[in-house]
Amino acid sequence: MSFSNPTRRGLIKTGAVASAGLALPTYLRADGHAGFTNAPQGSTVTLGFNVPQSGPYADEGADELRAYELAVEHLNGGGDGGLMNTFSSDALKGNGILGKKVEYVTGDTQTKSDAARASAKSMIEKDGAVMVTGGSSSGVAVAVQALCQEAGVIFMAGLTHSNDTTGKDKRANGFRHFFNSYMSGAALAPVLAANYGTDRKAYHLTADYNWGYTTEEAVRSSTEAMGWETVAAVKTPLTQTDFSAYIAPVLQSGADVLVLNHYGGNMVNSLTNAVQFGLRDKLVNDKNFEIVVPLYSRLMAKGAGANVKGIFGSTNWHWSLQDEGSKAFVKSFGTKYGFPPSQAAHTCYVQALLYADAVERAGSFNPCAVVEALEDFEFDGMGNGKTLYRGADHQCFKDVLVVKGKENPTSEFDLLEIVEVTPVEQVTYDPDHPQMAGGSLGSCNPGA
């Protein structure tokens, strides 16, 4: 066939081939639109586990990933079922989610919001993840949460403690099970008052970034309400490893309590410095000098070693809890990995199960249906007692643990002892509390 001299037969042939070529794509793509982003096709559903595998929180990230793998195993009917046996909702059958086998993809957030978003985007755009979960810092959680809102998938936050995640940066597609700075302050203050008295002068050292700010504010306002006085609040650079220069002025200030609003390696270093300076042996204003760490984790306690003995802090969950849920989780995690889970592992495992359960109850993977199922959902048996997923800001409300460094640890995991389980009423706040002000959930976004 020649283009300069078309024949009737040639024209028909070319036309038929061309139209078949044009029709092919549309034909093959016809099943791809179920009304929301990444509707699961076939017999599997893909979840995205976006955790820090490198960088300062790599330890937490590794533990989170273990928890997710365990959760997937349990959802697919493997293992001993873990928390699915104690969970108050019995929608989960151990046959995947809505009968679809759970598969997962993993990514490295590097604890950088850019890298975390890139990794989450590849999960959504390439791997077809219908839900993204994980994260070990609030900056990353806020960044990925906003991305999931735009893309139209659900985000189940991992370890993020800043008020902002469900405060000024809350999003309709994002949910947080972990507690926050406000709750830490509200839970700690009464315990501190009972142990150290109401006439104390506090000195804050605060990590110079958002989480530090919200934690300082929360602890400050709760302790000041008890009658404490805040002498000074000094910001320390996040990259600081030697805090001696910041500890020295503490004694001259006349303060008798040091509050370390630090997390991870920062806290390990500042606490070690403070103890080495002999702060805890000092008598100021006729009172023993005390140190407080608002957010504790077992991994941090391990890093600080003997220095944590007798120091108060708060935590979301601890493996030594004796309720049925906690025992079941510690057992199945311990059986699989040989050591007890951290609080990061717990919150991530629970988030994965809560998502799966919400999908089962909603009967659909559609993010809007899932949001509806999770909002104002009350549950029990997940290790924190009765818990409410509040619809107004997508924050879980549950008991908060006040813990103390154990005087005589029996193993390398037995570093913290529970001082008090602060009841949920005491840590509940209004959705428009000044510390959470600004921002709006908006409406759920199902994407495509």
Partner: protein, 399 residues
């Protein structure tokens, strides 16, 4: 064509073809196959490939031509990003003003940094730029939190003023657009088992990259570019002849800073979020790696290097244990475990290790970067062809 000689036109056309056909080229494996893991043809990665290509092209104008090794280029990328996001918050979600302003701000900032740093050369220059970049990072991360959002970074919100756009309903997420065309618009083309994604944002970024690439060719071939090369080969001799090289090096520094700002602005246009880590020194180091890996001083090298590193970061880092188990499932149990244990340290979170090894191999065996590798292969073919007495030059690939 466009004032380029035949060889440069060839290179430009090759890059243009690669950029425009990227959705096909990067998705060579059918959906659902075991090799689909290595597909890179999804919008986010394609956008990153070309944007970091722009960043590396700009860096190469400074490093490749003048030999001044800046360890602080991420600062300009970051400044551009912050400028762009503020335009989106204050003016409009249209990407055009955001990108223009990001280039301007990065240019101004690089003028300041260059003015001071270029008083020294060699290692002292590198240290000065590194210091500036780390300073910018620290400022953005904590001191300037009200402007930069600190650790959390900045995102456009529904309640930003945005003078030119109408107000959004509470809780709606604003989307970046080009006169109404949203960056994540696009369509999928399915052919048999292959799915190719065409994305508006990617093609906008690709066109900008082609313009940036064209400009860099013009700079390379201009008398100005020749002057910069002279600075690289012997600056002292230039000074002895009575020529003041500072204006030339400063101009090169500002131009490459503006390229970085352009890349920063585009990053925001494609993904409306800025975090301070973008300015961290490792990000500055990354662009140095990209340029050296691809081939410093060559035209196409930096683009290849940027593509290579971003591909590693996004694809290899996502291979986890369960993926390996699928790959080696056909082997007997014992051997499977051994294979997984052998491969696992190099994938997933170990992707840095793989990248480091490849970088070492390239630096040791191909000092001219990937481009030198390409040239050697081309030479091999040419040598063979010559012995076969074929003289058809049109069939041999351009360098």
């Amino acid at each position: 064509m466009f004032g380029l000689n035949k060889k440069d036109t060839g290179i430009l056309l090759v890059v243009a073809f690669l950029a425009l056909a990227a959705p096909f080229i990067l998705n060579p494996f059918p959906e659902g196959s075991a090799m689909a893991q290595f597909n890179a043809g999804y919008p986010d990665l394609m956008q990153r490939l070309v944007i970091f290509g722009i960043f590396a092209i700009g860096f190469n104008i400074l490093f490749g031509l003048t030999g001044y090794l800046s360890f602080g280029h991420a600062a300009f990328l970051g400044v551009g990003s912050y400028a762009a996001i503020w335009m989106m918050k204050l003016l409009t979600m249209n990407v055009v003003p955001a990108i223009i302003v990001s280039v301007l701000f990065a240019g101004l900032f690089s003028l300041l940094v260059g003015w001071i740093s270029l008083r020294r050369s060699g290692i002292y220059f590198s240290i000065l730029t590194l210091a500036f970049a780390q300073m910018s990072y620290a400022l953005a991360y904590s001191v300037l939190t009200p402007i930069t959002g600190g650790e959390t970074g900045l995102q456009p919100k529904y309640d930003d003023p945005r003078i030119l756009d109408g107000t959004l309903e509470a809780g709606q997420s604003p989307r970046a657009n080009l006169f109404g065309l949203e960056m994540n618009d696009g369509f999928e083309l399915a052919m048999g088992n292959w799915v190719f994604t065409f994305n508006a944002g990617y093609y906008i970024a690709a066109v900008v990259m082609l313009i940036a690439f064209y400009l860099s060719i013009r700079i390379f071939r201009s008398p100005f570019g020749m002057m910069l090369r002279a600075v690289k080969s012997n600056q002292q001799r230039m000074n002895y002849t009575g020529l003041n090289t500072k204006p030339y090096t400063l101009a090169a520094f500002v131009i490459s800073g503006m390229y970085a700002g352009l890349a920063g602005g585009l990053l925001v246009a494609m993904d409306t979020q800025v975090g301070a880590e973008r300015m961290f020194w490792t990000a500055s180091g990354e662009v140095v790696l990209m340029t050296i890996l691809g081939g410093a001083g060559t035209l196409i090298g930096p683009v290849l290097g940027a593509g290579f590193i971003k591909y590693m970061e996004n694809i290899v880092s996502k291979i986890n244990k369960s993926v390996l188990e699928q790959w080696f499932a056909f082997m007997p149990d014992g051997i499977e475990d051994v294979m997984i244990a052998l491969v696992y340290p190099f994938v997933g979170k170990g992707w840095h290790l793989t990248l480091g090894l490849l970088f070492m191999l390239v630096v040791i065996f191909l000092p001219g970067g990937l481009v030198e590798g390409g040239q050697r292969i081309a030479k091999m073919f040419r040598g063979k062809k010559a012995s076969d007495d074929t003289t058809d030059a049109s069939k041999t690939p351009a360098e």
